[in-house]
Symmetry: C2
Subunit: 349 residues, 2 copies
């Protein structure tokens, strides 16, 4: 068979600020692959369908010498992340041609042969009727699990309490808002646009503000007026975290999921309210979701697909069509232009 | 009987920085009390013997309109705190003349009649032979309980781990160092003088540095060289907290006991390493020791007096003789001049 095109999105340069399409990442359509004869060496041949663009990926766009919880992307190689594909051929027992699987660290490419050591982390996807495959990258995938697992582990939510959820219209935030509402909490939500505000309200957020149009003093006033914060879901860090500390109720729980405000600049953050950690007996917990998979995945698989099907757990997708716009998708995420879970559609089966 | 002198240490002025003896607090020896005829109104007459001077008292030297976990001192009234006294007369069932008791919120005065609502919080002290009464304000009192209870609750210490203990020669810190060593941890200790360094070493601290002679970069190097921090006992906050975050090992536990570096200035703190809360999955817990009393006090009363008698738990006292120097004692504590538990001796029985 004639080789077919196998385009890739290459990590080309470490960005100093926001990732720049065409510079930080470069779309390279020069490669080809022979789908019949390519050597699998015990692995599988995957046709990539949907890729998940996630905020944490900014952290991997760094010099490889800088240590962090997740290895840096390799310059000159495709960036990698969570994705869903269709298995075209398999030399791996337990994975069969024709199946859909999700895989971490999948190459941003049209076709890929994952390193065999990644294969144990595949999950087979048998999409529930009426649920698009791509939702397994969002509400039913890593973002949904991030929200569900950490909420279960750290929130200790009690009816009548108040949760303050940042990036509340994102894939994780929207899930958290809905979890909090299911448990009878009041939800204060911060978002980055009026569209996102509508979205957060539509899933039940009680008080919604656009952080881009809200000064530190105004945010402080809002939280005070609502009686303070019992649970803070942090996706942003920075001064929002500081204001949340300043308005934390006694025994508040701070769930540290992300600090996107710090991903794109190296400036130190000025904090005025750290002392409140003591005076208000605050518990702050950072986490990496994969640590919590063993504890909560089966419960999640039992419950959440039903919620999605029944419409009890709403989700949104913000699709970027075509791998060639992958760099734009990554940038949009960092500047908060996406509404809902960011998906790059490489192919629709 | 002729009235006798009843001197008091009065809260005279809210300090903007360090508390100034003679200004923040004023020694007033003009008062008298008739020990025979004074009305008790259902309370007890206490001859005050030992007063505990504690860092947290700085937080109470504030304008009463500023809320915090502990009420402000009242201007024009004696400051109050934990103390030990001898009961001279009693109208309260269950408390008898001749007994020694400790009481919270006891007036810094020679004699006092505590408000009846405080009496339920008294503890009778029957000092073990060989243990001075004042130790019930230190290793066997609130500081010891602070160390013991919070360590039990939050440290989750495992043999071979590394604890970084700040103000390691203080009443709480010294106790924490010894707890950590009992459990087979390596202890890095920060102290404020060479005397204190010797003290910390004498109870087993493995690596001791004087923070006044150690730059941020040097502190960073020390923590790195020792393989990072699994448990951070924070009494100081500020840049030490930031450097500890920068060197936290995966799943580190940060126990937020105090942030003395912030008590005397209102400057915001610049933090560079907050993101590590997430990447290293750090658990940070603030606490107020009285919250933990119900859970751990009886265990403490069972175990710790034995440790003290057997010399397994060492303590030091730094005594200030005379209530007239109470203001100096409070200042010494804030600038770190004390070595060990600061006690103001009002009378030796």
């Amino acid at each position: 068979m004639t080789p077919v095109r196998n385009a890739k999105l290459i990590f080309n340069e470490v960005p100093s600020g926001y990732p720049e399409p065409g510079k930080t990442t470069v779309y390279d359509a020069s490669g080809t692959i022979d789908l019949d004869s390519v050597a699998l060496n015990g692995s599988v041949l995957v046709k990539v369908l949907y890729l998940s663009a996630d905020p944490y990926m900014r952290g991997k766009m760094r010099d490889a010498s800088v240590q962090s919880y997740s290895p840096a992307f390799t310059l000159g190689q495709p960036i990698t992340g969570l994705g869903i594909g269709k298995v075209l051929k398999s030399e791996k027992e337990g994975i069969n041609a024709g199946e859909y699987i999700s895989l971490p660290l999948i190459e941003w490419a049209e076709y890929t042969i994952p390193p065999v050591e990644i294969l144990p982390y595949h999950e087979k996807i048998v999409p529930a009727k009426g649920v698009p495959l791509s939702v397994y990258l969002g509400a039913l995938g890593m973002p949904g699990r991030t929200a569900y697992h950490a909420w279960k582990e750290f929130a200790h939510a009690k009816q009548g309490e108040t949760a303050f959820v940042t990036t509340a219209a994102g894939a994780v935030g929207l899930f958290v808002v809905q979890l909090a509402k299911m448990q009878g909490l009041k939800v204060i939500a911060s978002v980055g646009s009026s569209d996102k505000a509508e979205l957060a309200k539509s899933v039940g957020a009680d008080v919604v503000f656009n952080y881009k149009e809200t000064s530190r003093e105004q945010m402080d006033e809002i939280l005070k007026k609502e009686g303070g914060v019992d649970i803070y879901w942090d996706n942003v860090g920075g001064s929002t975290l500081d204001v949340a500390l300043g308005n934390a109720n006694s025994r508040a729980r701070f769930i540290e999921c992300g600090m996107i405000s710090g991903y794109n600049n190296k400036n130190a953050i000025t904090m005025q309210n750290l002392m409140r950690i003591i005076t208000q007996r605050i518990a702050i917990n950072g986490f990496i979701v994969s640590d919590l998979y063993p504890k909560y995945n089966s419960e999640f698989n039992e419950i959440v697909p039903k919620w999605v099907l029944e419409g009890k757990m709403k989700y949104t997708e913000d699709r970027t069509q075509g791998l060639e716009f992958g760099g734009e998708a990554l940038l949009e995420l960092q500047i908060g232009k996406n509404t809902g879970k960011k998906i790059v559609v490489v192919a629709e089966e």
